[in-house]
């Protein structure tokens, strides 16, 4: 019984560490330790249930040990901020007033496409509509909308941005599909101080011709170009 107790704690600790190292995106809607418990508990319940040679007590002790671990971690999480951060991490700021935080994005293994996808799911279309974007400790994205400035015009139609540059490289397929000229973007980036395309971390353009781009270690830039390419969408 005590063996099962200790072994369950060890397996739990290792799984928990691995899940924490894998990052928040693997988690879904749970805290890391809740995710680990969910992974383990189904198996623990099934094995003694199906295998008649294993005493049912082995399953019961393992499940009770998980309950103990859950309670201990919940109490630990509430008792101190530091312990709480060790257990559940802290929310990561992905977009702030300077634009996208690429270092954080890279650390979390999130691509621009995934960020855009979550932006759309949240009901936004452009990065510049967002004041802050956070990846919460349960793996969900939170977007805080930018407050419109007085006298700001509404866009003529619902903007639908496409990513045309990611990590200093053109997304050729998008450019080809929508009939965009690279020259137009190169001139635009040059006008805003970019020496080459490699300086651009991300650039999007929407169907109103609004270009959003961000140079390395710089604040983002939004330019209303009205450019629609050869095949407006």
């Amino acid at each position: 019984m005590l063996l099962i107790f200790i072994r369950t704690i060890i397996i739990f600790a290792i799984l928990f560490l691995v899940i924490r190292l894998m990052g928040k995106r693997q988690i879904g809607e749970m805290q890391p330790f809740e995710f680990v418990i969910t992974l383990l508990i189904a198996e623990l319940a099934c094995i003694p249930m199906a295998d008649l040679s294993i005493p049912i007590g082995f399953g019961i002790i393992s499940i009770l040990t998980l309950f103990v671990m859950h309670q201990v971690l919940t109490i630990g999480e509430k008792s101190s901020v530091l312990i709480g951060r060790l257990i559940s991490s802290k929310p990561s700021i992905i977009i702030d007033s300077n634009g996208i935080n690429f270092k954080e994005l890279k650390r979390l293994n999130i691509s621009i496409n995934e960020l855009q996808e979550n932006l759309r799911i949240a009901g936004y279309s452009n990065f510049d509509e967002i004041e802050y974007a956070l990846l919460e400790t349960n793996g969900k994205f939170s977007f805080l909308k930018k407050q419109p400035e007085e006298g700001e015009k509404k866009p003529p139609k619902t903007p639908l941005p496409v990513c045309i540059v990611e990590e200093g490289k053109y997304k050729e397929w998008e450019l080809e599909k929508l009939g965009f000229d690279k020259e137009f973007f190169e001139n635009l980036f040059r006008e805003h101080g970019a020496k080459s395309l490699k300086d651009i971390e991300v650039a999007t353009i929407d169907n109103n011709g609004k270009v959003y781009f961000q140079k390395k270690n710089s604040k983002y830039v939004v330019v209303e170009t009205g450019y629609a390419g050869r095949r407006p969408w």
């Binding site: 019984m1 005590l2 063996l3 107790f5 200790i6 072994r7 060890i10 008649l52 040679s53 294993i54 005493p55 049912i56 007590g57 082995f58 002790i61 009770l64 040990t65 309950f67 103990v68 309670q71 201990v72 919940t74 109490i75």
Partner: protein, 124 residues
């Protein structure tokens, strides 16, 4: 507060029942091993101790029902068969074969509580 009490209660239950289980398994298998050693000694001297062996088998059949709760069933399922086989050898006068079977059983009975005891080797 309530959940902390529940937590402490469950933790105490696991630790106390784990400790008692260890003592129980050790004492029962200790008794088994001790009696088996006596039977082996007599068998080695070519004395018929099948009556004690039969009594030990009866005792074990009663204990086995409880032991199933603490030890995986496959580990103890062969014990009855080995005792019956050894008894048969004694009844037919094959003391050497009976002794070999009983010594095998003795080693098994000695190892079982060690395999499930709380130790570093068993944890890993």
């Amino acid at each position: 507060m309530k959940s902390t009490f529940v937590l402490l209660g469950v933790l105490a239950l696991i630790l106390v029942s784990g400790y008692l289980e260890g003592l129980y398994v050790k004492s029962k298998f200790g008794y088994f091993e001790e009696n088996l050693a006596k039977i082996i000694e007599k068998t080695d001297q070519k004395q018929d101790d099948s009556e004690n062996l039969r009594q030990l088998l009866e005792w074990w059949k009663g204990e086995k029902l409880i032991m199933h709760a603490f030890v995986p069933h496959n580990e103890i399922k062969d014990i009855d068969g080995m005792m019956v086989k050894a008894g048969q050898f004694i009844n037919e006068g094959f003391f050497v074969l009976a002794s070999a079977e009983l010594k095998k059983l003795h080693d098994m009975v000695k190892a079982l509580p060690e395999n499930y005891s709380f130790s570093f080797g068993n944890i890993f």
